[in-house]
């Protein structure tokens, strides 16, 4: 169970955000994720956080769900903050102890760079919480469709992506079952000397490969039985429909992002 990845954790609801076209949501999330890298002063940070909180509320998903999605990234951000704290040497020295010097710029950087990335992570989490994997696949399919004219397998790639999302938890569960089985036969991945551990990887990988192949052959049988023949003849149950609200949503987010970036240049330097 430990291997389960919180990818594609859709949370059913009927909020405004849930009803948006997945393409609009992907564009908006991408815009925000790019914009966070332009944040370098407190006013921007504050505005960004307000934006993240308002969107979360609009999305009507429990805050705990968003936090669960953000949690794994927090460890990474803490490490990042730690390095920023020690490596950035700008402004007045706050603490100096042997080789360690912490400056004002370092402290600020540690806070700013971590907190601004959280905004981007929240945007991604909200996208996945409010959009089913199928919708994301459909959006990618539609987005890449122009390339299909040049022989690019857009639909097939989208389908593979969606099957991947579907099978990650299954394979992950199997991997942990196989590791358990090998552990109880003394082939411990989690214990023993380094050489012993490396040697234990082989049996796990082979079993996992064999089981993936079994899944693949079962899956191909299932796809055949359900008459899957690629994109040509399919009639999507929920065809993507770009409506006025989607245009408005993208404009709103774009405007927000514009203001956010502009503040970087407008806010006087002394504030930062």
């Amino acid at each position: 169970m430990a291997f389960r990845i919180t990818l594609g954790q859709y949370y059913p609801s009927n909020s405004l955000i849930h009803r948006l076209d997945p393409r609009a949501k992907i564009i908006a999330a991408l815009l925000v994720m790019i914009a966070v890298f332009f944040i370098n002063n407190p006013v921007q940070l504050l505005l960004g956080w307000i934006g993240a909180i308002v969107t979360t509320l609009l999305c009507r998903v429990p805050v705990s769900k968003v936090l669960t999605a953000v949690k794994p990234v927090i460890y990474m951000l803490c490490i990042l903050a730690f390095f920023n704290l020690l490596l950035i040497r700008e402004g007045n020295v706050l603490v100096s102890f042997g080789p360690i010097t912490i400056t004002e710029g370092g402290a600020w950087g540690a806070i700013l760079y971590s907190l601004r990335l959280v905004i981007g992570v929240v945007a991604a989490a909200l996208l996945l919480l409010s959009t089913t994997p199928t919708e994301i696949t459909d959006a990618c399919d539609a987005g890449l469709a122009p390339l299909a004219r040049f022989g690019f397998p857009a639909h097939e790639l989208a389908m593979i992506f969606s099957l991947m999302l579907r099978f990650i938890p299954t394979i992950a569960d199997e991997a942990s079952a196989i590791i358990d089985a090998q552990t109880s036969r003394g082939g411990a991945l989690a214990a023993g000397s380094f050489v012993h551990r490396v040697k234990s990887i082989g049996p796990v990988v082979i079993s996992l490969l064999a089981s993936s192949l079994r899944h693949a052959s079962g899956l191909s049988r299932a796809l055949d039985a359900r008459c899957y023949e690629g994109g040509a003849t399919r009639s999507p149950w929920h065809p993507l429909k770009w409506e006025l609200k989607d245009t408005l949503a993208v404009i709103c987010v774009a405007a927000f992002v514009g203001v956010l970036i502009a503040l970087r240049f407008v806010i006087p330097f002394w504030l930062y």
């Binding site: 169970m1 594609g8 954790q9 859709y10 059913p12 089913t132 994997p133 199928t134 969606s162 099957l163 999302l165 579907r166 938890p169 299954t170 569960d173 199997e174 079952a177 196989i178 358990d180 089985a181 090998q182 552990t183 109880s184 036969r185 003394g186 082939g187 214990a191 082989g202 049996p203 796990v204 082979i206 079993s207 064999a210 089981s211 079994r214 899944h215 079962g218 899956l219 049988r221 299932a222 796809l223 055949d224 039985a225 359900r226 008459c227 899957y228 023949e229 003849t233 399919r234 009639s235 999507p236 149950w237 929920h238 065809p239």
Partner: protein
């Protein structure tokens, strides 16, 4: 036949199909499927059942012979017509064993819609079909759920809904219940009963003879040929042939045969209600039936049918349930009261063990909640409980794969909470998890089996000796140099079990070892476990089958992470516990259930039998006018 009025859904004439290397999967098979009929295909593993299913649902074209399905001549004289196949396939549905492989999207209702989308059905019509089919399989509450978080039975029902949403004319179900628990299989059978009302032609491939009773026709396959074909009662009357094929007959048939051998006047039948009614009748003829109950016999058959075939829960008097905890405490007390076992260390002892998977989240439910029990060396233990009752977690705790949050796990008297102690215990407790064959990896069977002993650091000749011994025990010595991936499914499982046995464990823990095996495979494994146990190894088995739990000498019933009752099979499977076990979704062994039903219908006391032999002996004694003493002691 072709002059008959009934339209045909499928027609196979002299169909032969071989996979190369001399493996003939279908050998000159001819079969006609009438529209709307329900055909059940039985046979051992490797008899060609699945191949027949694939041919009928248009996924495999034969090498020789003619096939026409849903009015399309898809294959004439061994030459497939791919265009015809393509259009025929739109009217054919397939559901097979592994539910994980059949679900292609990450949301339940999207998955049901996947088939209709491929057929180019309009969006409104898809919505209608998705709602209708999810309701039919009773999964409407899970429309937006993530399929990977559903139970196997639920996933399989989603897969059936997905096939039905394509509105097929023929639906092939290839062992849909093989990987499911009793409850999951029951759910599938309920769905199948509803299907017959829709007019879909159903081909049901299965290992479970009881499931065949409801079919219109039964086909028995052996070595690629259909050896028997007819109504269930026609087919099941071919005693010798069925026996030589290693197929288990339905319970009612077996009982009827035993009673006839004991010269009771009952007709040969495979129908539970006919047999029960005739037993009651023959007792009534001799004036052995209590008068006040006789009037009820007329009403009996229908309830009996519901119970023994479908196992549908019946409303029970709640007073029985209330009396229950007392009985279970008694059982536990009896099991612990034996003085000689207190002296030596138990094979496994749990002291107030609690465990939960997500300890950190507030408001969590404990998967295992304050369990204490002793498993003595040499015992044969059955752990029963519904899916989600914590069986697998309990087993993982016993095998030291998880450590308890609270309480202690002692193995041979050694506390496993210390890392050093755990290393000592390596190899002492062998763990055979569900579908152990999925963990095979080595180039040869012998190498795979040797993996465990090698890790124990044993000398090469000792490893080889143990390896040979283990393979001998499971009867695979002759296959030691072949690739494990080339073995049949049942052999793969035995090879995986040999890998555990080669570590010479004191205790072997098996999590549903019988799942997915055919009757012959189950019988073979049962024998192996018995001989391992006879040689002094403690055998702990998680099982869904109450009948197989009766062969243990210590039964632990789990419910919501706690021990509901515990004791010998006779203590646990007692008439007093019937209501509680039913309520837990488990039920009681069939012979006991029958004896209770018969007693209710007026037959004198039958002594609480747990096996078919006990039940038929009791019926004979009672029929002769003697009173039956209660059965005691170990179940044979």
């Amino acid at each position: 036949m072709s002059f008959e009025q009934v339209p045909l859904s499928a027609c196979l004439r002299h169909v032969t199909l071989d996979y190369g290397a001399g493996i003939v999967a279908l050998d000159d098979v001819s079969l006609e499927l009438k529209k709307g009929e329900r055909l059940c295909v039985l046979g051992a593993n490797g008899s060609g059942k699945s191949t027949l299913g694939s041919v009928i649902c248009g996924l495999l074209a034969p090498d020789a012979g003619d096939v026409s399905i849903v009015g399309e001549h898809v294959c004439v004289d061994g030459t497939p017509n791919y265009e015809a196949y393509r259009s025929a396939r739109q009217k054919l549905g397939l559901v097979f064993q592994n539910p994980d492989d059949q679900i292609v999207t990450s949301i339940v209702d999207e998955d049901v819609a996947f088939g209709p989308e491929n057929l180019g059905v309009g969006a409104d019509e898809i919505s209608r079909r998705v709602t209708r089919e999810l309701e039919r399989v009773a999964m409407q509450d899970y429309a937006k759920a993530d399929p990977t978080r559903l139970s196997g039975g639920q996933k399989q029902r989603v897969a059936i809904a997905g096939a039905l949403a394509m509105e097929p004319e023929v639906l092939v179900l290839d062992e849909p219940g093989a990987l499911l628990d009793v409850r999951g299989r029951r759910g599938i059978m309920r769905v199948m009963r509803e299907l017959s009302e829709t007019g879909v032609t159903v081909v049901h491939i299965t290992h479970f003879m009881e499931e065949a009773l409801e079919a219109d026709r039964v086909a028995i396959m052996n070595h690629g040929k259909i050896t028997l074909l007819g109504t269930p009662s026609e087919v099941f009357s071919h005693n010798d042939e069925l026996e030589s094929l290693g197929l288990e007959k339905p319970f009612a048939t077996r009982l009827a045969e035993r009673l006839r051998k004991r010269e009771l006047n009952v007709p040969w039948t495979c129908s539970a209600d006919v047999l029960q009614a005739s037993i009651v009748q023959s007792f009534a003829h001799r004036g052995l039936v209590k008068q006040d109950s006789q009037t009820e016999t007329a009403a009996l058959p229908s309830t009996v049918a519901a119970e023994t075939i479908a196992g549908a829960p019946q409303p029970q008097a709640s007073t029985q349930g209330a009396a229950q905890p007392q009985a279970s405490e008694q059982g536990a007390a009896q099991a612990q009261a034996q003085p000689k076992e207190q002296l030596q260390a138990a094979a496994i002892e749990l002291q107030h063990v609690s465990y939960s998977y997500n300890r950190l989240e507030s408001g969590h439910k404990r998967t295992i909640n304050d369990i204490s029990t002793r498993i003595e060396a040499g015992e044969r233990v059955a752990i029963v409980g519904q899916t989600g009752s914590g069986k697998s977690t309990l087993v993982r705790l016993i095998c030291s794969l998880e450590l308890p949050d609270e309480g202690k796990v002692l193995i041979n008297g050694i506390d496993n909470s210390h890392k050093r102690a755990r290393r000592q215990l390596w190899g002492k407790v062998g763990y055979v998890m569900q579908h152990p064959e999925r963990q095979l990896f080595a180039e040869t069977v012998a190498e795979d089996v040797a993996y465990g002993p090698k890790n124990l650091g044993l000398a090469a000749d000792e490893v080889e000796r143990r390896c040979n011994e283990a393979l001998e025990l499971v009867g695979l010595a002759h296959r030691k140099d072949s690739s494990p991936f080339k073995l049949s499914g049942g052999q793969q499982r035995l090879a995986a079990i040999a890998g555990i046995l080669a570590m010479a464990p004191n205790t072997i823990v098996l999590d549903e070892p019988m799942a997915g095996l055919d009757p012959q495979g189950r019988l073979q494994l049962r024998r192996i476990l018995k001989s391992i146990n006879a040689s002094g190894v403690t055998v702990v088995q998680v099982t869904h089958s109450m009948e197989s739990a009766t062969h243990a000498n210590h039964v632990i019933v789990l419910k919501d992470g706690s021990i509901l009752m515990e004791g010998s099979p006779r203590e646990v499977f007692s008439p007093a516990n019937k209501a509680l076990l039913r309520k837990t979704g488990l039920g009681i062994p069939k012979p006991l259930a029958w004896s209770l039903d018969l007693e209710e219908a007026g037959v004198p006391y039958l002594g609480k039998p747990l096996t078919t032999t006990e039940l038929s002996d009791a019926l004979k004694l009672s029929y002769a006018g003697s009173s039956v003493p209660s059965y005691e002691g170990e179940v044979g």
